[in-house]
Symmetry: C2
């Protein structure tokens, strides 16, 4: 289509997309509030099942699994519990405050048994959904320090990212560069074999775009909302010009995890809601390897007793199964938001 | 884990899964009701954009695209409109009636311009989420008759499935076999090259399991609910024994589309909610091929004007994009339920 014949419909479509997005955010918050008591109950039940979370990660979907190296798997064997919170969703009767926070913000909390890898018992990674003044929006995070006891499987990446972030914060300039810790970080990234990066480098992730502070985001959201309100009344409104970005400032150069935000979402929207399914699959894998082949035809015989549950629920990957043979089991949950 | 030490926790997990599922169904219905006015508005806008739906299917996700043969693409070029309804969700102020219907039931309606392929102007495929008396649950459908004008790209599959279904219905036996039309259907399936099957064979799809009638499903849901209520009070309840199934009765033998239910879900949960994104991608592809290379650096310069929208929204596949550079655009919508 030639540029001179762009019809007004595209603006209608853009406005619609932002309205769909509002519904999505509302639904995300609603689902979170409704599910919260069930997740609490699930935590209580799975805390009594030894190896629940290690087995879940063993069966995690390919896009998560590919970040877990064989060495990481040893560390995950020490995972005591996982918790995912959408910490900007108000849990009381108040309505969702649009400016105060975003239902897409996520906190992912790993609790570990005493182990030989690091002395932290908890590693918590928080992601805030923020908007920058020049129009970017997405998840931003802050590096988490890991106190490695012996060899660091991230080869120093995580803590180098932590050091850079702290120095930038102290300087009040989140784009500061050129200082010693920054040069060290770039060296480490350059010499790192991306395909062999430890999952734990993810704890050093910051952003796929700029780092956006809470203040900047609140201001940008306010202005964004004003523009949208005008647009929905049919007014023509200009958006802010994106800042000129120099080539060396392009995102990614000093980022130690290629897709840290996507990995966070996969954990929050797939691993977390489907944990029982992944656990059951892992159990079934174990059962299968212990089972005599002559027993296999009996697999479907007695229904929804505990053993049957494990066999049945485990059928197939949970992501997009539209029908089920599970007697009293709902269809597999899909990826949630 | 050995079978003699199965702890009671597995029953708790199974019960929890059914409770999560109830929340999911409630949320699905809620989202549907909230989004309905936006979808209506979208229909109005896109009806003015020539080639909107053909372009959406041109950019559809791989799991849909792989079912569209080059010949099918010519037919899709005649697609005038698409509509997806969850027709068992009550749209009034009444509460969702659990027994009356299921929010997972889907109607997918294609409207075509006058064309040389078939004389139908509308092809509507309905899927009902149903539960069988022996415990299976999932989407079931009925074959849709297509009145081909010339060569039938499904090689007779769709209408053979239609004939079998009608004869079974007349006989009041949905498992009836051995009659002439049934033998013809099996022959057609056997001689069919699955990798080259037309998308339109999907209109003949019935079920990944048994065909379940509305009456059977209502009764099975009632009994299921009674069992669940007892279980949530801590009672031990046996589930119905699945019927003995003879090998030739196993699903799939007389089914002309391998994953008709999953394809329906992909259209309802990905193509339909993300249609604006797919359309914009298709537009961008066209623009790219028309664009001089020297123009490419200007791509991101002016923000959220109509042309910019098209360029920006089109970045990447919509499915799992956690952040965006779209000035006033929300993050890409993910696969919905």
């Amino acid at each position: 289509m030639a540029e001179d014949q762009v019809p007004v419909h595209y603006e209608d479509l853009a406005l619609l997309e932002t309205q769909f997005d509002e519904v999505d955010r509302e639904i995300l918050a609603k689902q979170y509030v409704l599910s919260a008591p069930l997740y609490a109950k699930r935590q209580e039940v799975v805390s009594k099942i030894e190896g629940f979370w290690p087995l879940v990660f063993e069966q995690s979907p390919p896009d998560v699994d590919r970040y877990i190296t064989p060495n990481d798997a040893n560390i995950f064997a020490k995972l005591k519990s996982l918790d995912v919170k959408r910490f900007e969703i108000p849990m009381g009767p108040e309505k969702i405050a649009g400016d105060a926070g975003d239902p897409r913000s996520i906190a992912i909390r790993f609790e570990f048994d005493e182990n030989e890898y690091f002395s932290n018992s908890v590693l918590e990674k928080k992601f805030w959904y923020r908007r920058s003044k020049d129009g970017w929006s997405g998840l931003v995070s802050e590096p988490v320090k890991i106190d490695w006891k012996g060899e660091d499987p991230t080869n120093g990446l995580t803590n180098a990212a932590y050091a850079v972030f702290q120095e930038r914060k102290k300087a009040g300039d989140m784009k500061k560069k050129g200082f010693a810790a920054y040069k060290k970080l770039l060296d480490l990234i350059e010499n790192n074999n991306v395909d062999n990066t430890s999952f734990f480098a993810w704890f050093g992730y910051v952003s796929a775009g700029p780092y956006v502070s809470a203040d900047e985001s609140a201001q940008a959201n306010k202005e964004y909302k004003e523009r949208q309100d005008k647009r929905s009344k049919g007014e023509k409104v200009e958006s802010p010009e994106p800042e000129e970005v120099e080539e060396e400032d392009m995102m990614g150069d000093d980022e130690i995890h290629p897709e840290g935000d996507e990995l966070a979402q996969l954990i929050a929207e797939d691993v977390w809601p489907n944990a029982i399914k992944y656990f059951t699959q892992a159990q079934e894998m174990e059962d299968m390897s212990e089972m005599d082949f002559e027993d296999m035809s009996d697999e479907d015989d007695d229904e929804d007793g505990p053993i049957d549950l494990r066999a049945l629920v485990g059928k197939g990957k949970p992501k997009t199964k539209p029908s089920s043979n599970d007697a009293d089991e709902p269809p597999k949950k899909k990826q949630k938001k």
